[in-house]
């Protein structure tokens, strides 16, 4: 593109098309080791995230809780596919758009909703909020809201897994904005040098907040790994089978070789960056186009077309989830806020730490 000097350093006034999706896998679920019975739980997992967040947004708009609320809606194939592909004791870290991943990993919806409400029954006891869900029992390690700052943590966790030779793999998710951070580049270098069993995943949803990926990142994201000799690939993130296929393959390789991987998953978020985002940086047509690739509808169509379940079976799941989410809201509403004394808990492991006053 020829730029006039007055254009400044990044082209302005142009609305970029966010992303182009690679082709999804052609494999059927049976080719991926999935049984017919595995598909309804997969649908359950994805639809639960969707309804949880739609209701969470309503609660936010009603003023039930404050802070930021970043919705994952549109990206559920990534979380559900990852969890299906990994072992339950593999370690997952995410960034701040993280409700979906926690729910996919099996965190209790009531405790997740309670965390949004800042209640003591929340997954982080009301200390973390939307951006900081943690559920260590499920090997879900957050919930990290300084962009890219958790990437070295993932490598460190992988170092400990390798040191203990426990066979666990770490998988670390972040957005396309995080690819520009020094933390990613420093970590990639060491992860490759030290052969750490970790999978880095950029969920490239096209926008670093409101800045299109073309405007914030030079080159293709997955190719950053080439500079370090790290294995990498780019995949369609709107199709859950594609995610399962790739994460299975990559996790197997990481377990066998102890070498890291970098996956670029092309996906799309339907909602704004956060609740206050008018979304002027993209067109309505683009949003509609991607809604046409909806991962939940796609799985639903597959299930029906292949006669794995009937319409009414899926409807029954949707109704069940509706009730789960309503119960989660009730649980959150009825739970207590943390006791004032809890302000001085959880900062140090030392129970009698003499806090400065």
């Amino acid at each position: 593109m020829v730029k006039k000097s007055g254009d400044g350093f990044t082209p302005t006034g142009k609305v970029y098309k966010s992303t182009t999706l690679p082709k999804p896998t052609k494999k059927k679920h049976t080719d991926l080791g999935l049984k017919d019975d595995d598909l309804l739980p997969l649908f359950h997992s994805m639809y639960k995230q969707r309804r949880f967040e739609e209701r969470a947004a309503q609660m936010y708009q009603k003023g039930k809780f404050g802070g930021f609320l970043h919705l994952y809606i549109g990206q559920e194939a990534v979380s559900s596919g990852t969890v299906a592909a990994l072992n339950d004791d593999d370690d997952i870290l995410g960034a701040y758009r993280v409700h979906g991943m926690a729910l996919a990993r099996g965190s209790d919806p009531g405790r997740c909703m309670a965390e949004l409400f800042g209640k003591k029954t929340g997954v982080s006891r009301g200390k973390g909020g939307s951006m900081h869900f943690f559920d260590l029992e499920r090997h879900f390690w957050g919930g990290h809201a300084i962009v890219g700052a958790h990437i070295p943590l993932a490598a460190g966790m992988a170092m400990a897994n390798k040191y203990n030779d426990n066979g666990r793999v770490v998988i670390c998710f972040f957005g396309d904005g995080a690819v520009d951070q020094g933390s990613l580049n420093e970590t990639f270098n060491m992860a490759q040098l030290w052969k750490l069993p970790v999978i880095f995943v950029v969920e490239n949803n096209g926008y670093s907040m409101g800045t299109a990926v073309e405007r914030h990142s030079a080159g293709e994201l997955h190719k950053r790994a080439d500079a370090y000799g790290m294995k990498n690939a780019v995949v369609n993130g709107m199709d859950v089978f594609t995610i399962i296929e790739k994460v299975q393959e990559v996790a197997k390789d990481v377990r066998e070789t102890n070498e890291p991987w970098f996956l670029e998953v092309k996906t799309y978020r339907y909602r704004g960056h956060s609740m206050s985002d008018p979304g002027n940086y993209r067109t309505k047509e683009e949003l509609e186009e991607f809604r046409g690739f909806d991962p939940i509808e796609r799985l639903k169509t597959y299930i029906l077309k292949n006669k794995i379940a009937k319409e009414e079976d899926l409807k029954a799941i949707e109704d069940e989830i509706e009730q789960i989410v309503l119960d989660a809201i009730d649980f959150a509403e009825e739970s207590d806020f943390p006791d004032p004394k809890e302000l001085y808990e959880d900062t140090y492991t030392q129970d009698d730490y003499p806090y400065h006053v």
Binding site: S124, P152, A155, M190
Partner: protein
């Protein structure tokens, strides 16, 4: 009781702890094959091997964060910064991750990690290589901060830091690594938040930690010749602070000078001064005075650096002020 260099005392603490607990690893620039930039880790690579003594690239952000991640997941890393001036590159990992992850996860995560290395001025190294960071780290909840002044303290304090389950900032000094001192034989764990009266006196309390303890000591020796007996309190741990020991001393001497190598504004000396006025106001016979580096970066020129650094002469002047001998 052995007489050891400061660096040897630290090495003994590191080595003994690593022999005791195989979850401890040590990472940093030049710590392994080079045997340590300041020879603190000399011989340790040979003893423990490359799985536990790990050379890193010059990536302070990266290896600080990798250390935190390893600590979250069951290891007990010791991260050596070649100096704490370089730790600033990775300070997000210390301030946001090491210090806060336990809190944000509602107590699910513990981070047993020690960040250690030289702090403050190391001679004519100019502005970026001369900063004392204890005030900045002590400001952050979730961290504990130690800065020993003598080899015996260093060994006992570092062992405590390594065994603790919370992140600890352990500050050393390039200029003190060669300094010799008595180190007690056997296990001598020095707890957090316990200061030490390093010199008893009844006329004035001088609070001084780390390298500044030695400045205070020289001043006290000089003052004694003039008949002024200073009591020197070395808090040893900056956070949590043994304010009780300081207050008890001030109640006896009624006067206090704080010697501190951090900048004056919002510095360690400001906090100690505030605490003394709150806890011992009625005992004070003079306003608390302080000797700090000035509110400007470290200069290179030798004469300016001498002006910049706290000196025994300045401490003597401050003592004269609080004892009305000017």
């Amino acid at each position: 009781m052995a007489v050891l260099q400061f660096r040897e005392a630290i090495r003994e603490a590191l080595t003994e702890e690593m022999q005791r607990d195989e979850k401890i690893i040590l990472m940093g620039e030049e710590v392994a094959e080079y045997d340590g930039a300041y020879k603190v880790t000399q011989g340790m690579y040979k003893e423990f091997g490359g799985k536990r003594i790990i050379d890193t690239p010059i990536s302070e952000l990266g290896f600080a964060g990798i250390g935190v991640g390893a600590a979250m997941n069951g290891l007990r890393p010791i991260i050596e910064f070649m100096t704490f001036n370089f730790a600033v590159v990775g300070i997000d990992q210390i301030i946001n991750n090491a210090a806060k992850l336990r809190h944000m996860s509602g107590g699910q995560i513990s981070i047993p990690i020690v960040f250690r290395g030289p702090n403050a001025s190391g001679g004519q190294l100019a502005a970026t290589h001369s900063v004392a960071y204890e005030t900045i780290y002590a400001h952050i909840p979730g961290l504990k901060v130690m800065y020993p002044s003598e080899p015996g303290d260093a060994k006992g304090m570092l062992k405590t830091a390594i065994r603790d389950n919370d992140p600890v900032i352990f500050l050393e000094s390039e200029q003190m690594y060669g300094m010799k001192g008595e180190v007690p034989d056997g296990e001598n764990l020095i707890p957090f938040g316990k200061g030490k009266i390093k010199r008893e006196g009844s006329d004035v309390t001088i609070v001084a930690h780390g390298k500044m303890y030695h400045v205070a000591k020289q001043a006290a020796e000089q003052l004694a010749k003039d008949g002024v007996e200073a009591e020197i309190i070395d808090p040893r741990t900056i956070k949590p602070l043994d304010i009780e020991m300081i207050v008890e001393s001030v109640k006896k001497t009624n006067r206090c000078v704080v010697v501190d190598e951090t900048h004056p504004f919002c510095g360690f000396s400001a906090e100690v001064g505030f605490l003394i006025q709150r806890e011992a106001f009625d005992y004070l016979d003079a306003p608390v005075q302080r000797v700090t580096i000035p509110d400007v970066p470290a200069p290179f020129a030798k004469n300016l650096l001498e002006l910049w650094l706290p000196s025994p002469k300045q401490v003597i002047e401050a003592v004269k002020t609080v004892t009305y001998r000017n």
